[in-house]
């Protein structure tokens, strides 16, 4: 479960949908792993405006990752001006969003307190029918 995906997942319960507390899900007892992938600058640039930076800060903080800058990086900051190569900001973002993932643990909804188990990187979002 990539950190990128964590920035989009909400509680699956219908009653939580409208409640702002249902996002982000808070990782608990999470085990992290780092999987190397190829960098895709255009994709990260496309995703930047869609990221919820406040949620990013909360989640990285709870995962014990280094602190993020206060503001969302701008699209210009992703490319090194002089060389046109990917900048350090882009590399950091790539390693955080695409390479860092939660291997196991729990995701907790702050609204209803439901815990979604994560095993081998797959989160279990199945709900018993009375909770849908």
């Amino acid at each position: 479960m990539k950190v990128l995906t964590l920035n989009f997942l909400t509680c699956a319960r219908k009653t939580c949908k409208q409640n702002p507390a249902a996002f982000p899900l808070h990782p608990k007892e999470a085990e992290l792993e780092q999987i190397e992938t190829d960098i895709n600058p255009l994709f990260i640039q496309n995703m930047l405006p869609r990221l919820d930076w406040e949620a990013m800060k909360t989640v990285t903080n709870e995962l014990g990752l280094p602190n993020l800058p206060l503001e969302t990086p701008t699209a210009e900051a992703l490319v090194d001006e002089s060389s046109g190569e990917p900048s350090q900001t882009l590399k950091d973002l790539h390693s955080l969003l695409m390479e860092t993932s939660v291997a196991s643990g729990k995701l907790v909804c702050a609204n209803c307190g439901h815990e979604y188990a994560v095993k081998e990187g797959i989160a279990n979002f199945l709900l018993p029918s009375h909770m849908v």
């Binding site: 989009f8 509680c11 699956a12 797959i122």
Partner: protein, 275 residues
Amino acid sequence: MSRPEDILPPDLFYDDNESRKYTTSSRIRSIQASMTNRALELLDLQEPSMILDLGCGSGLSGEILSDVPEDEGGPHVWVGMDVSASMLGQALERDVEGDMLLADIGQGVPFRPGTFDAAISISAIQWLCNAETSDVTPEARLKLFFDGLYQSLKRGGKAVCQFYPKNTAQRTMISQAAIKAGFGAGILEDDPDTKSVKLYLVLSVGGGDVTGAVQGMDGVDVMDARRQDRKRGRDVKSKKGSKAWIMNKKAQMEAKGKIVKSDSKYTGRKRKIAF
């Protein structure tokens, strides 16, 4: 031909054994690959996108999404949802790149609004037409699914769902549910009137025309049901009780998915006066 949908619920039908058979069968793999490529063609993505794969199974379609070359707008990043743990286990063994959730798409789509650029689904949504327990109905599951999907896609986003409806009733039930959720919907039929007919439900967020998706494709005829409806409205209204009026009503009911008696030479005919 037996349908797996009629045998067991998906999470039980695709057990370890069945999932392995499904994933390793070269016939299924090639069919899945061609359908995924067709769906990608319909989505027409220009840039690396975030894609939701509904009923991702063992990631056969996801693999293709991650492998789209750069000059064709890829590689895409995908998140998959599937209800069968064994299928996801197969995906783990094959080391696919996307993230996966063990989730029932009939319970909604747990992502915040505007997450995805596009969604695809290969041979999955016909499973929603089955209710496995007495406390859920197919209609309610379809509604939760399409409402959730509509929310999680960005404005202007598209979804292509390939599915195998059991009959016309299922086909209309699925497309009507999508339209009710707010999608602009159309169905593309590949190889019509053959045994290997493939149906693609093309959905666009923000409603409107989806026929643009097939523009520039060879050998595609567009039959626009909406436009015919509109033209019918402009006609002079036929007299209530007349044959034309009855035929019109029957067509309306059929379009709604109701069971309608087939037409015969007696349809709308006056009875003989007995005395």
